[in-house]
Homo-oligomer: 388 residues x 2
């Protein structure tokens, strides 16, 4: 499978973004729109302080049908009580009027600072006339949903005559339990809602749910898929595999652009007792501040990988059976560090891609988790995010 | 209860430290010694990659008797296989000879880099003659066990005629499951081993087990207590309470000196469904990189506290019931941010002590967790720890 060199819109989808005054600079409002009614499914954060758009969104998605998605950045509409629910609803009403589509076929997301009231009047004013800005470049939509992302993210892949396009954002507060920050998947394939829903969950489990930038789970995580059918039927198995491939590619893109990140970090666990244990351990490695700083410093301090595996105290771990590789170079075997050339390992770690593979040799469970290094950039970004 | 202004040794205890060549500068070898046999108990890391001293130590402590503790810093003797076990044993043998005490009454710890062979000959040479350096200042012993600590840590408190003295170290790789990095508790009170063991576990549960600097669980965490009885019997209840007080004070000292830390971070959870849920949520707050950077930046971005509470998806959380205070100032109530003065909250956060209190109002469980902020200092320290 191969990504398109440049993201394109599937048939019948358009998007737009603009500045409606929430941010001083850059776009802060995006719309994704299908010219015909699309089957749709969605998954949301498990955070117990869900944002108002998530609370409403869970209801809206039950219909399994969508025409448009409206997203604002800068203010997340979380921890804002009943007024927040009302404001989220007003976002859908505004889009429903602007595009003449049913209100219950519009879903909304908000991302940004928590516990600040949503400036709904500005958003309503922004929605007016946004239909005239609609265009075919997914990047245009990606631009309005960014918070601390350093660039807008979109990718496309083909399956039969259909296209799957993913627009995503997310740089910090990322350890999804259900989905990552904000991800919108658009396709012109024809797919029934229950099938879409099932495929989305399976793909997210291998991709967005295995991503962690900083262990913090957003209150707004949302992943939506819209399938408008304009490219006709496609092979279900191929579609499902392609969807998973595309979700993993977007996951890597999000990981690599984690706040302050300089490199993509992958942890593969093989031979775990169960798949769940493999996932847990892979996440522990990806989340360990000491492994993350080791990767950042390109320091061959590989004991930290042992530590991160060992702290998974509920998992089956037998130190004497474990083999560990870094970027395919064997570094730990038979209960001892392999006598490797430190300069060589330092070089392996100094690229922008660090892949840690541990075979636990106690079963057949396997999993891959995605993350990034931890740098001064993360601190700078987050010690003064609010006021910026 | 009040700490002594300066830590002192309980009757019959002495300590010493020196440089035996593991570190370029500073002491790297310490001994804690009781002139008479002491009852003893210990708790160790739950990490599944335990260090060789931990593996051996678990056996030695079963006797419930100790005369001496030998500790080296710089190299941790973890992930070193059978040779590592043999080297740990040789540390005890060397002390047994130097002090003419039974070998099975000597316990050892090693702290530092993981998966490097222990330079046992240097340590054996260092132990020779160390008995001549014994003195009455606990700080002398604390100096030899430091790794990235910025100062040696010891404290004393009196209970009846007895003294409890705690010597500790720990700055990174700290989220104990049983105890923190290295903590040695010495007392001249007379206490039976099973009582000591029980009191130690209870005190650690409220103190060291509630400490987290970076979510990473050391492979070497060890907490030992020796009671040599030279001050006679003391009231058990008072002793237990005093021990807990002293352990909490040492926990705060360790938290405040976390790698790169500029402030102590406390999270109090009240009104949780159970004590376990209170502990879990308190730890989630203390461990959240976004809460930690908020504290560092003194940024009144209090939504991050909601996020950290909400990500405890297995706990009973009802957003509409939650009240949150920062340094005793109410900031969140009735599902909305209290309309506070941002400059005032910024000032509260800018000191070297940040206390977050959340009342969940769903039960009676409560807990306090201890940690620190996350700064560039942590990154600097850990991106090049190994090679330093």
């Amino acid at each position: 499978m191969k990504l398109h060199e440049k993201a394109i819109m599937p048939k019948g989808f358009k998007c737009a973004s603009k500045n409606c005054g929430l941010k001083d600079k850059g776009n802060d409002l995006s719309v994704f729109y299908s010219e015909v009614r699309a089957n749709a499914a969605g998954i949301f954060t498990k955070n117990k302080f869900p944002g108002c758009p998530v609370i409403l969104g869970r209801e809206i998605i039950k219909n399994g049908l969508l025409r448009a998605i409206i997203v604002n950045s800068k203010v997340s509409n979380v921890g804002t009580g009943r007024q927040g629910i009302e404001n989220a609803r007003r976002m859908a009403i505004a889009v429903s009027k602007e595009f003449s589509v049913p209100q219950n076929e519009v879903i909304m997301s908000s991302t940004g600072v928590i516990a600040k009231p949503l400036p709904i009047e500005q958003i309503e004013k922004g929605v007016k006339g946004i239909s005239k800005l609609l265009n075919d470049d997914p990047i245009a939509g990606a631009e309005g949903i960014m918070t601390t992302d350093t660039y807008p993210k979109a990718l496309s892949v083909s399956v039969d005559d259909a296209v799957i396009t993913i627009i995503g954002k997310g740089a910090g507060m990322i350890e999804p339990n259900m989905a990552t920050m904000l991800v919108y998947i658009l396709t012109d394939a024809e797919m029934e809602t229950p099938v879409l829903d099932d495929m989305l969950r399976k793909a997210a489990d291998k991709s967005f749910n295995m991503l962690s930038v900083d262990t913090d789970t957003s209150t707004s995580d949302t992943c939506l898929i819209m399938a408008n059918g304009l490219a006709g039927k496609v092979d279900e198995k191929r579609f499902s595999e392609t969807l998973q491939f595309a979700c993993i590619e977007m996951t890597k893109m999000l990981a690599r652009d984690g706040e302050g990140a300089t490199k993509l970090l992958l942890a593969n666990i093989l031979g775990a007792k169960t798949e769940d244990e493999a996932k847990f351990i892979a996440k522990a490695i990806i989340n360990s501040p000491l492994v993350k700083t080791m990767a950042y410093g390109a320091d061959p301090n590989i004991g930290r990988i042992l530590m991160a595996i060992g702290k998974c105290t509920a998992c089956e771990i037998q130190p004497e059976k474990i083999e560990i590789k870094v970027n395919n170079k064997l570094i730990y075997l038979n209960e001892a560090r392999v006598d490797f050339d430190e300069a060589e390992v330092r070089k392996l770690l100094s690229g922008d891609y660090v892949e840690i593979t541990a075979n636990l040799n106690v079963g057949t469970g396997q999993a891959t988790a995605y993350g990034c290094d931890l740098t001064e950039g993360y601190i700078e970004e987050n010690a003064a995010y609010y006021s910026s």
